[in-house]
């Protein structure tokens, strides 16, 4: 029998620092909710909006797989490994923080906010060698189907991380549906609606709602509106 956890968008933690507004699906920084700590290896799902020209100054990370998915605007990244890059909608960025990495992230535009998802997944080994990668995805490949954007394997489509995790994105027309089959037995999937409305496993979801599914082998997602966008994050539950 499947286990289901529903996190409506308006129940998320909120941090408003003026230049940064962040919604936290799970406990993060000053937001602490013992009922909302993680979904398996998925530990952080932050929905960030950064004001024009502002950003996160240099700060460290370690032992975490950090994935950034821009939704709007341009985000400039610099890190202690010498990487300087701009990521924008359609890109995905991954950092394996491992033994330690420093980076900064700024909104490159002076006249437009940037919106992005910051996702942290526990690594399957501690103290890995830090690494950085980013790719541009072909957004046409997710029209009315699920496009893989992340996996544990270098050879597979999308970026890779140190964890048995698979992420997919899809952009659907109204009434179009897709099936998803769990890649690794025992894994769960956290579904996050980016835009529009979906019905997932019989549950109706609005924008920024999250739905965790575990003890399940497959399920169906159906768009209830046009131009509906969804993110699926399959992660180990133990």
């Amino acid at each position: 029998m499947s286990n289901i956890v529903l996190h409506k968008a308006n129940t998320r933690g909120v941090a408003n620092h003026g230049w940064l507004k962040s919604f936290h699906t799970f406990s993060f920084a000053g937001y602490y909710n013992p009922e909302r700590v993680q979904f398996g290896a998925l530990r952080v799902l932050n929905d960030d909006t950064v004001s024009a020209g502002m950003g996160f100054g240099e700060h460290p990370h370690d032992n975490m797989e950090i994935i950034s998915i821009p939704l709007e605007g341009d985000l400039e990244h610099k890190d202690s490994m010498g990487n300087t890059a701009v990521i924008r909608k359609g890109d995905i960025q991954v950092m394996s923080a491992g033994t330690g990495i420093y980076h900064s992230e700024y909104n490159k535009n002076k006249g437009q906010q940037v919106k992005f998802l910051q996702i942290w997944v526990f690594p399957n080994k501690r103290n890995a060698t830090p690494r950085y990668d980013q790719i541009t995805l072909n957004e046409a490949d997710r029209k009315n189907k699920l496009q893989q954007i992340l996996s544990p394997n270098k050879e597979e489509e999308g970026v890779w991380i140190h964890q048995d995790a698979w992420f997919h994105m899809g952009n659907f027309d109204k009434a179009v549906s897709a099936d998803y089959t769990i890649k690794k037995p025992g894994n769960g999937v956290y579904v996050f609606v980016l835009k529009g409305q979906f019905r997932v496993n019989g549950i109706d979801l609005d924008p920024r709602d999250g739905l965790g599914l575990s003890d399940i082998e497959f399920f169906n997602v159906q768009a209830l509106t046009d131009d509906a966008e969804i993110l699926l994050m399959e992660v180990p539950m133990h």
Partner: protein, 109 residues
Amino acid sequence: MGNPTQVLIVGKNEAIVLLLQRLINKFKGLHPVIAFSAEAAVDVIQCQRIGLVILSSGLSEDCEKNIKENALAKNQGIKVITHFGGGSGLLKCEISETFGKEIEWAEAV
């Protein structure tokens, strides 16, 4: 008001250990002590009344095990946690979960 809980932070990435030290200083009722090696950590555990050990990055599994064993041998009540993320994002939650209650910032972070 009682004495603050001594929090030992152990890790090999000096910058991250120092950041965690600054963060622990900002929590009510916690006082940081730092060590950059398992050997130094064990010395601190033997000499000071530590209530919580935070294992930061760069330590081998054997080092982490050695620290845990020494901490528990000194006092079964010492909590030992493994820190992930390297900064302020998860620290409050990790400590709150360990103590079974939400810890509070003494000042804004």
